[in-house]
Symmetry: C2
């Protein structure tokens, strides 16, 4: 109704401005197309020369320059940084059609379990790095000894419950063959590999799932076995793929995993079992949830879209987990007792102790999760049923 | 070492390509500056005419057109959509320096607790919508009766444990004054408001925290009390701010909140208490966590960066929560018993039942959380200690 702006019809004005926005957004798409052509060339040079895909310093410098320009132009620097990081994520994907081989091209290697989800990803990375990759799965297994003769790397990528049994059979590998595994526990498989094979041995735990588009920026835990000089090329190769390697002791790694994986899966399972038994209206729960609660519910819900056998194995296959979970239950009981005694003061005091234990990390978590929710909100994620 | 590309030094080639990338990225920043000028004008027209800030259809159409263009230009449409959504989030912020007033400009309203975190945000929204806003906090409270004479809206925004006591005193409001609250429980406060005040009454629960940049796209639960026609302008005003209103029964809302908030906070508390008591090396846990586990740990850690008293109140102030949490403990015991009996088959069967209960939502959660982790990864969030 108001004509305060220019004396024109506001709907017409709005239409004109929207045309201008569409024109600018078209230019944005054109710009992205041009940028992709350039980054594809960058990828070609890197793969020919073996330069690493991910160069943190270049990335930091690129972002810093654009943030400074944004500041001068009155554009929020955080907006520019978010956009550039999203664009770079895409360009890492398109850059990596092939990689430099960290050893002699055509080197023969084998991936046992290479038809599994994570196995496939690793096979593809080796193939794109000019290795001669032998995939050994159920069908090839009876003939494994013959097939594995002459391979320079035998990588065990079978499900966790089969790992040790598979390793125990690998007594016939060539002395110069590297034996490695990618199981999410490390102590047992590493010992089994040391027993079965006299040559170089290394335990690996890639800290990402098969849905990851590659190894760029991903953490891989390395537990050294023996003959590090002989498998150095394998670690180099993963670095070329963009991985960040972390060395760890196998037992320390496994203890950490009990806290990280087992406790989390178990509590999510119980949380889901409780909701199922209480049977509230899920659609209503979701509608009444703010983004942070939707995210928390999603962390439980996502478990139940996955393979129950995998989680049964992760939880049940280590008897130490039972003791850990029983101590967890004791803490649950203690908290219930506080509630029953209506002892808010003690709750607040315990809370403060735990906060102190988390230290600065608690604040980091709060900041990161808020940022993440803003991103979820851009996509209207976590909104729909 | 390889000169296969153009016969030039690969480092020189790379430097040239990087210059081209920098040039394109500069153009991107320029484009964003131009776009912000146009969207600021859009915001001015909307605030003058009272058109809603968030128009889902326009947003969908804008994105669809650019996706189609991207497809033709060989640019991933998802990349373009992600970038546009991020740009639009920013433009909602800059558009909203002022809003149209949904009733008579200069209408006198009061926010009790308006110096609290969420109170401040709401005061600012009303002020930017041309209301005459009276902030009543501790200092003004003794004089509240005199101050509140003649206000058309009295909005209670005090901490949850004070809400009902504050409401009980509000027996002196003018008959045409709307009495409303924004507490995260609704049954008790709504009843208290109906008892204290004979005029229009409505319970609100904004489903977001004070760190939200505004109400754009946020859910607000509306529990009707009496005299809906007389507070229609208030609902209209929230829609102008971009809110999405959801009507709900107060008791249904509260039962849902017990599942959504109380169970979650309680389990996060116990999870934190357990980690604190076990005392693993937190830095090592984080280094050994893949992004999904870091996110799950962050969901626990973030609790402990917040005010323990708030959580004590949310959990302890409703005795029904105790019964719910005791049933939760029973389910915990049942799961431990499965583990003790090494009954994987039963675990897998229960898992399948729960999956069925979650239905398609489980898959949605999985997909959404994967998307979200990619975004977290762009920002190297959840990586650092």
């Amino acid at each position: 109704m108001s004509n305060e702006l220019n004396g024109n019809d506001p709907n017409e004005q709005l239409a004109g401005l929207r045309d201008q926005i569409d024109e600018l957004d078209q230019q944005l798409v054109d710009l992205l197309a041009k940028r992709a052509l350039v980054t594809t060339k960058v990828g070609q040079i890197k793969s020919h020369t073996g330069m690493p895909t991910y160069v943190p310093e270049r990335e930091a410098q690129l972002i810093q320059s654009r943030r400074q320009q944004a500041e001068k132009a009155g554009v929020p620097p955080d907006l520019v940084e978010d956009l550039l990081r999203r664009i770079m994520r895409e360009s890492y994907l398109t850059q990596n059609s092939e990689y430099r081989c960290a050893t002699v091209k055509g080197t023969k290697i084998a991936v046992i379990g290479g038809k599994g989800a994570l196995g496939k990803l690793i096979v593809s990375l080796f193939e794109r790095s000019h290795y001669d990759v032998l995939v050994i799965d159920k069908d090839e297994w009876p003939d494994a000894q013959r097939l594995l003769a002459g391979v320079k790397l035998c990588l065990v990528a079978v499900p966790i419950k089969q790992t040790i049994n598979v390793i125990k059979t690998l007594t016939y590998l060539d002395d110069d063959c590297v034996l490695a595994d990618i199981t999410s526990v490390k102590h047992g498989p590493l010992n089994a590999m040391m027993d079965a094979h006299a040559g170089p041995v290394v335990g690996l735990h890639p800290m990402f799932g098969p849905d990851s588009p590659g190894m760029v920026k991903q953490v891989v835990i390395v537990c050294h076995g023996r003959g590090a000089a002989q498998y150095d090329w394998l670690l180099q190769q993963m670095t070329t793929w963009g991985a960040q390697l972390h060395e760890s002791d196998a037992s320390v790694h496994d203890a950490d995993m009990a806290y990280i994986q087992v406790m989390r899966h178990f509590t999510s399972f119980v949380y889901g079992a409780h909701l199922h038994a209480e049977d509230p209206d899920l659609a209503s729960l979701i509608a009444h949830s703010s983004p942070i609660y939707r995210l928390e519910l999603a962390m439980v819900g996502r478990l139940f879209a996955q393979d129950p056998n995998l989680y049964a194995d992760i939880i049940f296959d280590n008897p130490q987990n039972l003791a850990l979970l029983k101590r967890f239950r004791t803490r649950f009981d203690e908290a219930i007792a506080l509630f029953e005694a209506n002892d808010k003061a003690q709750f607040v005091e315990q809370f403060a102790h735990i906060s102190k234990w988390f230290g600065d990390y608690a604040k980091t978590c709060l900041v990161d999760s808020k940022q993440l929710l803003l991103k979820a909100d851009d996509d209207r994620m976590l909104r729909k049923k």
